[in-house]
Amino acid sequence: MDEKFDCIIVGAGIAGLAAAMILARNNMKFLLIEKGDFAGAKNVSGGVLWGTDLARLVPEYWKEKDGGWERFINHRRLTFMDEQSTFSLDFKSSHFDEPPYSGVVVLRSKFDRWLAEKVQEAIDESDYAMESFIATNIKVDEVLMEDNKAMGIRTGDEEFHTDSVIIAEGVNNLLSRQVGLQDDYVPADHMLTGIKEVIRFDQKVLEDRFQLDGLSGMSNEFVGYATDGVEGGGFLYTNRDTISLGLVAGIKDMREKEKSPHDILNHFKEHPVIRDTIKGGEVVEYSAHVVSSGDKRVMPRQLYKDGVLLCGEAANLLINAGKAIQGMDFALRSGIIGAETIIKAKEQGDFSSRTLQEYRQALDDSYVMKDINNFQDAVHMLHSPEMYRDIPNLVCDFGRTFFTIDNQPTQKSRKLFSASVKKHSSYWDLIKIGFKGAKSL
């Protein structure tokens, strides 16, 4: 293959597939390279794909009978956890029952593969049906640079040439480092290990236990005891006949507190409330993957340079401010914007950073960078000991006294609350946290 592509995309995760879909629809000649056996083979998420953007890639995807997704969220829960108890904010609404759904539960090995089939269909309908490709089982070893401008990629001793490269390699971003947009060593400070089990149930049991109807689904985030004193949080999402149960835990914090992620996962599973929730289930997969925190300090210096764009978690585009992890929807949107920028660059015949900086601009104007910028305080707060330790303890302590009826004179809630505050914190700390919280949300 001596011919030059308009674009080579590295990585068939959500960012790469989203970019590929837009390129195919706009009759661009491109190569999408994935090192896994198939798209999704190497990918792990919790995972809920939040928002409605999926319909921009595959319009009315929900009409497909057996598509690549698991369930549609109509029930959300945020749970504070101490050693014995859980105290939850719980919201369920038929408002979420109509398409376009705003939360789609996915298992990546199936979902990415399905999305890749859709991209292939779009390629087949494009002007370059025979000249654009999705190539799997190929690892890109190097982005080839000439005069500091990307002009191709190398895999083994084979080279492919192109006008532009979209690096959509995910969080462990070796190529982003090689092209000089990210430091060679990224410290553990704002990085977490995500770890999870997929647990299978009899489908009827699953539906009854989680009050699911048809393809409705539940998402549950956990703060507190779930992570055994380490910064981070837990999650539980319902799939068709399995659940994804797991957590994210700060790598630096584990290093300092001498904790192992697999032990923390067992600690979480042994909590009495979780134990009841997963009773009778069978673990069918154990997985782990690094995940960003949403802290901007870890992001690459810039998201473009001559001939190159970084999309998705390769650019650490993610936010986790407690109520949800948003990495996949950010990957999807940044992939779309990245591809749109490449299309424009081709029209203008200029793939230098002069044109490609429009990617950064469009991303800054989108909800992706707006949310990352606006919620930095919330990210810091979620990763502070107050949030993963003191507040959950306080809330659960209050819950325990509030819900206890023991044939004694009952105290007014305010008094109960004040006793819980004294035990786990102080009013002054609480005011400070409340102030920080109000500011950050």
Binding site: K42, N172, I251, R275, V284
Partner: protein, 100 residues
């Protein structure tokens, strides 16, 4: 529900090129650094696949076979001992997730 041990958990993972005995390791660890200057030896507990182990003499060893390509050790090691890469699809090991 019974808790699983780490080896039971790893038993559920589908590895690539499992039949090949002569695989090319995708991660190289300079264990001289581990065993001389590293104050915490944290990879021996933060690796979710237990690829880094410590023997009775407190010496760190690394074996790549069970690695699930998560990336944790690349960040956790602040001593410069970990040379991290993705496995080669043909001659490396690495994972293929069934669920993901």
């Amino acid at each position: 529900m019974k808790l699983l041990t780490l080896s039971e958990r790893l038993g559920l993972v589908s590895y690539r090129n499992q039949a090949k005995s002569d695989i090319k390791p995708h991660i190289r660890v300079d264990t001289d650094i581990c065993n001389s200057v590293c104050p915490h030896k944290c990879t021996t507990y933060v690796c979710p696949a237990n690829c880094y182990t410590m023997d009775e003499d407190g010496k760190v060893h690394f074996q790549v076979e069970d690695c699930i390509e998560c990336g944790t050790c690349m960040y956790a090691c602040d001593q410069g001992a970990v040379d991290w890469n993705y496995p080669d699809p043909e001659i490396g090991r690495g994972v293929t997730w069934n669920f993901g």
